[in-house]
């Protein structure tokens, strides 16, 4: 819903290392914003994008969906994406949906 | 029985709620509305044309037989025109749509009700009346008058052609007479009827659909009942509006 408030999330980027940390919660109220932020980051970096999701307490399907989109977006430019660390909720979801290997988990 | 009536009130109430936001950007509903335009409008065109033309010819034939006796054969044009525009165009179109669209509305909603699709819509937070009935209302409100105008046109054309080639009346004279005799007022009184008929068909059709309970047999029963009740209500409404027209003038 467009009139709904966004769930809080924070992100920090290290352009030189090509890595980012996302913290908080990722659901359908903020997934589009996170996607735009990640796409901006992709434009500023080169090579493989590394994500640290250890501080991500919750992710829903739209959150997983934007990660897959970013992966496609990078693959089109012959770049990759790797997820370094995940929290337990996120890891359960990755294994249930069997998309962990796409991100090197 | 009281439960059935409560359901009708519920339906009307929900439909009135739809009036507050009559247009939508939601793709599923838009698609539904377009589907019904095609379904009610384009698909009914051939049968409406055939029946209206036949009626035009029948009227010309019947009235010619009577008018010839009093030496007023040229009045065939007036009789055919008025009967079709004010009465038979709207009535026949409505009867055809009651059998085609009304029955289809009932069958669709009854099937969805029995397979729990209606419940599924509701628990997804989607108003089943807004999703299923409102698009039918919109499509009916637009298509009913258009089809009626088309029925008027084909009926008069067919009556004219028949009069020209079989009764030996002058073709251009026939159409001139029709055009000068039928007023906008006549045309509108027919169209107002057609709106009311369209509403009756949609309401009865959808209401009967919502009343369906378990079992595929009920779909058939409800469909039959929907058509019979629609026809009954159409004729009653016709009587009401015709009486009103002549009382006002």
């Amino acid at each position: 819903m467009s009139d709904e408030q966004q769930t809080p999330w924070t992100a920090t980027a290290d352009q030189a290392a090509g890595s980012a940390r996302i913290e908080g919660e990722l659901d359908f109220t903020n997934s589009l914003a996170v996607r735009d932020w990640l796409k901006d980051l992709c434009a500023q970096t080169t090579g493989e994008l590394k994500l640290d999701l250890e501080g991500l307490r919750y992710i829903d399907s739209s959150g997983l969906a934007i990660l897959i989109e970013i992966r496609k977006f990078l693959a089109a430019k012959q770049r990759g994406i790797r997820i370094l660390k995940v929290s337990s909720q996120v890891s359960k979801l990755f294994s249930l949906t069997q998309i962990g290997e796409l991100f090197g988990i | 029985m009281t439960g059935d009536f409560e359901r009708f009130i519920w339906l009307v109430n929900r439909l009135l709620g739809c009036l507050r936001h009559p247009f939508t950007r939601k793709p599923y509903m838009r698609w539904q509305t377009w589907r019904h335009f095609a379904w009610i409008g384009a698909d009914s065109l051939p049968i409406v044309s055939v029946i209206a033309s036949c009626t035009g010819i029948i009227l010309a034939l019947q009235s010619a037989a009577q008018l010839e006796k009093v030496g007023a054969l040229s009045y065939v044009a007036n009789l055919v025109g008025i009967s079709i525009v004010m009465e038979l165009g709207p009535l026949l179109t409505a009867l055809i749509l009651a059998g085609r669209a009304g029955a289809a509305f009932t069958a669709e909603i009854a099937t969805m009700k029995i397979s729990e699709e209606i419940d599924a819509l509701e628990v997804m937070g989607l108003d089943s009346v807004r999703y299923l009935v409102w698009p039918k209302c919109v499509a009916m409100f637009l298509m009913m008058p258009l089809l009626t105008l088309w029925a008027d046109f084909t009926g008069i054309m067919a009556g004219g052609l028949f009069s020209t080639f079989v009764l030996g009346l002058s073709g251009p004279g026939y159409y001139e007479q029709t055009a000068s005799f039928i007023s906008m007022r006549n045309l509108f009184s027919g169209l107002i009827k057609s709106f009311a008929f369209g509403l009756a068909i949609t309401l009865i059709g959808c209401w009967q659909g919502f009343l369906a309970r378990e079992g595929a047999l009920d779909v058939g029963t409800r469909t039959t009942r929907s058509v019979v009740q629609s026809i009954f209500l159409i004729v009653l409404l016709d009587l009401f509006f015709t009486a009103l027209t002549y009382m006002v003038t």
Binding site: E25, F28, L32, Y58, L64, K92 | S115, E117, D119, E122
Partner: protein
């Protein structure tokens, strides 16, 4: 708890307080008092005509009780005040008996429907979410098929994918294993267990399939003639000495009155 499950990611419990419900003044449920705990799988068990479906309809917000209250995560489902039915339903996923997919839409569109109508996600994201959900239930190649082209088991799985579309906090299933072969039924049970675990959901299952109950249930509510005759864990159910329960669990026929010969 409280509001958390409506806006956040907690799971609500379902509380029924003195619920009486039925159709047209014929009472089917009588004085139901129970709590279906959060984050657990509760199975509502009972014979045909025992009031299981009626109870489910009451919890879904489709059948207002004639008296009593239905609370979901503390919110009164039928109260005009408080969180609206619409908000509560957005956090609910329902798997109907035969899937109840819209016959006029292909599978992918069925799953996409709640996302299209309730979120402002764009087309690309919706497609990815739909693909994820279909993959979850093993139907990713069937996105373009219409429900009528699928088998009963596939329709159920597709119904599950649609129920999960909005990442519900509470999942309700109406006889998920009925009409399925034993392997498909076990697969579906396994799926429900894993989903509960991964999404932290409260799950309510209506069933009379005892094998399935032993596999998935954390909590069992047993109905007979519209009244609760048992509530508790699976172990307690197994050990119960109640005659009706024993008859149900041991699959014994009901006793008939002996037929007397005419004299």
């Amino acid at each position: 708890m409280g509001e958390d499950w409506l806006t956040g990611h907690g799971a609500p419990d379902v509380t029924l307080e003195g619920v009486n419900a039925g159709y047209n003044h014929r009472l089917i449920l009588q004085d139901i008092n129970t709590v279906l705990p959060q984050g657990r799988i509760s199975v509502i068990l009972g014979g045909s005509g025992g009031g299981k479906s009626t109870l489910l309809k009451t919890i879904l917000g489709l059948l207002p009780p004639s008296s009593g209250r239905v609370l979901i995560g503390g919110e009164d489902l039928y109260s005009p005040e408080g969180a609206s039915l619409r908000d509560i339903r957005r956090r609910m996923g329902v798997l109907f008996q035969d899937g109840a997919l819209l016959g006029s839409l292909p599978l992918g569109e069925n799953v996409a429907l709640p996302l299209r109508e309730h979120t402002s996600l764009d087309e690309e994201t919706i497609e990815t979410v739909v693909a994820l959900k279909l993959r979850l239930v093993g139907l990713e190649q069937f996105s373009g098929y219409f429900p009528a082209e699928l088998s009963g088991g596939m329709r159920k799985r597709a119904g599950l994918a649609r129920a999960l579309a909005m990442d519900p906090r509470i999942l309700l299933c109406d006889e998920p294993t009925s009409g399925l072969d034993p392997i498909t039924a076990a697969d579906l049970d396994q799926m429900i267990l894993e989903l509960k675990e991964a999404f932290n959901m409260t799950v309510v299952v209506v069933s009379h399939d005892m094998q399935s109950v032993y596999r998935i249930a954390d909590n069992v509510v047993m109905l007979n003639k519209g009244r609760t005759v048992f509530q508790g864990g699976v172990q307690a159910l197994r050990e119960s000495a109640d005659p009706f329960l024993r008859q149900f669990l041991d699959r014994q026929p009901s006793k008939r009155q002996p037929v007397r010969e005419k004299q």
